[in-house]
């Protein structure tokens, strides 16, 4: 189990002190995929780097399985680092080494003999789907393949924890999904705890089971992913959730604006469905019960690790009592509704 206890990190510079991380308390259970999401500068990178001692907290403690990693130095810290794999946004492979030699690198560092290291590396190359590319150099690989090497390398010393520092941020959407699938697969196969930081809600939705949202060095919201998706409390979380549920929110806003102009009498409503509701014919039931005209503006459904989440923009028009009845019905069915043109 990973535990952050009252962790604060302050950087002193000539311009003054920067509180990169402030009073963070966080528990991560074994075998979980824990996502930390935030915009750049939120402090998530500093936070994750404390887990392998690349940063030390100014105050507070970081414990892994009861060992206070933030207090370790020298050989004890290096020993601990062998058991924590890390993957990076820019892969950080050694270009002078082949795929296989890159995977062997941490094994050499940990003092394994060459023959054993080679055997292990071959096995890992297979695990991450790089069979046949063992003798290639990183410059000959695609971004996705490079990150696969990075993952194999991070797994070489049989770590209990894998840290992912924006590992998919430099990849295209399809490759991102492939790499995320691989991480999910590894998490299940090896029962590995994965701590990942990202600014993409998509990554969280796809593989994380728990999420913490960071802003200005603080964790403003945390919990199971669906929970946080369902009822985002903080503005920053809402922004992330909106970004994810309606990737083209800006376009939608433009369409909504046009529709508001075109049909000043209509009511535009954003509906958000969670889990099972996304599968129920709630909207068609509403239309049967109330006399309304309905116009769908935009809709999307996303699968998360814990269920579906759907979002629908509709324009409804009709008599006021019918409208009020329909909105009350939606609320009764526990669909989140937000009326957009009633200020």
């Amino acid at each position: 189990m990973i535990e952050f206890k009252d962790v604060t990190k302050t950087f002193d510079s000539k311009q003054g002190s920067v509180h990169a991380v402030q009073d963070v308390n966080l528990k991560i259970e074994d075998g979980h995929i824990y996502g930390i999401v935030g915009y750049s500068g939120a402090g998530k990178s500093t936070l994750i780097r404390m887990l392998n001692g690349l940063e030390t907290p100014t105050s507070g403690a970081v414990n892994i399985d009861g060992v206070e990693i933030s207090a370790l130095t020298g050989a004890a810290l290096r020993e601990q680092r062998h058991k924590i794999g890390m993957i990076f946004q820019h892969f950080n492979l050694l270009w002078s080494r082949t795929v296989l030699e890159n995977i062997m690198f941490p094994l050499e560092i940990a003092g394994n003999n060459k023959a054993d290291a080679k055997k292990k590396a071959e096995h890992l190359a297979e695990l991450v789907g790089l069979t046949g590319r063992e003798t290639a150099y990183p410059s000959e690989l695609s971004g996705g393949q490079k990150q696969r090497v990075g993952i194999a390398r991070a797994l070489a010393n049989d770590p209990q924890i894998l840290l992912s520092d924006e590992a998919t941020s430099a990849l295209d959407p399809q490759t991102t999904d492939e790499v995320l699938d691989l991480l999910l697969d590894i998490n299940k196969k090896l029962n590995l705890t994965i701590v990942l930081i990202t600014h993409e809600m998509h990554v969280i939705r796809k593989i994380a089971d728990h999420v913490a949202v960071m802003e200005d060095g603080k964790i403003v919201e945390q919990g199971p992913v669906l929970e946080v998706f369902k009822r985002p409390k903080q503005a920053v979380t809402k922004r992330f959730v909106n970004e994810e549920v309606t990737p083209s929110l800006n376009e939608t806003t433009a369409v909504v604006g046009q529709l508001l102009e075109k049909y000043p009498k209509g009511t535009i409503v954003q509906l958000t469905f969670h889990g099972d509701q996304a599968q129920l014919p709630i909207v068609s039931e509403m239309l049967k019960q109330y006399t309304l005209d309905l116009n769908i503006i935009e809709g999307a459904i996303h699968q998360t690790q814990e269920g579906a989440i759907g979002s629908l923009y509709i324009q409804i028009s009709g008599d006021q009592d019918q409208l009020d009845g329909a909105l009350a019905y939606l609320q009764k069915m526990r669909v989140e509704t937000e009326v957009l043109n009633r200020e």
Binding site: I84, M86, N92, L94, W95, S96, F105, I109, A110, S139
Partner: protein, 230 residues
Amino acid sequence: MNSQGLGSYFNFSTVDWGNMLSSTWETIWLTLVSMIVVAILGIALGLLLFETTNSQNPLAKLLNWVVALFVNVFRSIPFIILIVLLLPITQKLVGTIIGPRAALPSLIISAAPFYARMVELAFHELDHGVVEAAESMGATRWQIIRKVLLPESMPALVSGITVTTISLIGYTAMAGAIGAGGLGNLAYQDGFQSNNNAITLVATVIIVIIVFIFQFIGDFAVKHIDKRAN
């Protein structure tokens, strides 16, 4: 004071080829020996500079200051002056101030700081993320030097030693002029002082060929080592 015409360049019958050959070997020997020592010393000094830059340790700061001073001072002294300046030290170190071996101390002291700066620069240009990745795996400083810094900056180190070696060849000729032997010595004594332009020309051509060969080997090695792009 005869044979001052342009035709004198091609009066090859006056060239003592045996002498020319032994002078060529002296130049190559001087170049190779000083190159090897400069490579080792330069990498060591460059590493020392790199590792002590930005260090908080007061001892490391002092070391960095001393090494940087040494490097900057000896890099600034014109070679011809350095030889003369180092004459007493050379006498003490090598036991003589005449001949190829006497040229070695000044060659090395002038070129090693030059190369050390290139080495330091090569390390600074490495992607810091790679060093950090090695740190995150629990690598010791020495493992990072041996397995990351040196192999990852090898193309820059090799092209740096190529450039340094080529300027070393120039220096050997200068050292030759004041009695260190080699082609420089031959061109100066038998060519200039004896008014034998053919010898000067042949010595020049051989030096150019030596430079070309070193450049070719260096370029070939860099191309072979560098796996970053094809």
